[in-house]
Symmetry: C2
Subunit: 130 residues, 2 copies
């Protein structure tokens, strides 16, 4: 892994601030195994990799996934793919995940379509009143 020790690091307060969450939330994600920052003595050190994972976590949350499901998802990106069987497993997981995401996109598109039609009706009403 190209993780140089001299790479930039952040404290828990800095990442919390940057992502608009509390340090308690960051630690909660660590408790659940979603991130595992290095320690410098007793203090946590966050690197680019941890921030990437945090990005993924927060996007997963915006999409309404529970945290344990988010963990299995982002862990998938780091899963071993050396053996053929391992690769096949990862590919299967990718498929499951895509099915889920595409269902959500259908729901989302439906919701947006309905919203548009509703807006049209409202605008017609408005024209009638004016």
């Amino acid at each position: 892994m190209p993780t140089r020790a001299d790479e930039q690091t952040w404290t828990i307060a800095q990442v919390a601030e940057e992502f608009g969450i509390t340090h308690r939330t960051v630690r909660h994600y660590e408790d659940l195994g979603l991130i595992s920052p290095e320690r410098h003595g007793t203090k946590r050190l966050y690197r680019r990799r941890d921030r990437t994972r945090l990005q993924l976590i927060l996007r997963g949350k915006r999409l309404g996934f529970p945290l344990d499901q988010i963990r299995t998802i982002i862990d998938l990106y780091d899963a071993p793919r050396g053996k053929r069987s391992q690769l096949q497993y990862v590919l299967d997981q990718i498929d499951d995940r895509r099915t889920d995401l595409e269902q959500r996109r259908r729901d989302l598109d439906d919701a947006l379509t309905e919203l548009d039609r509703f807006e049209d009706r409202c605008r017609e009403d408005l024209a009638r009143i004016t």
Copy 2:
């Protein structure tokens, strides 16, 4: 409203079964004011309108919205639009809502794009192994 009394109705067990949820969940939604079925004496009677709202609720849940937010959303579709100011309020709400949904769609598209790229990498690995 064209709600005829002879229209088809369902019991709580029937709607629960049909939507794949428990009667407790249905009642919970009623407690929060998301649906308000008629009563025939003491028993609940669900009509088409209630089932439509249930559809919307469950889709909202699949999209990760909290229940109280779902309520304000589906209530919007029944909000009064007689006066000009009321209509304008509804149109503003529609805009807020669309902004939210479009953000979610961006997140969703990003997630799907990343997933596709990851699958490509995995398939390359697989080809290399084979």
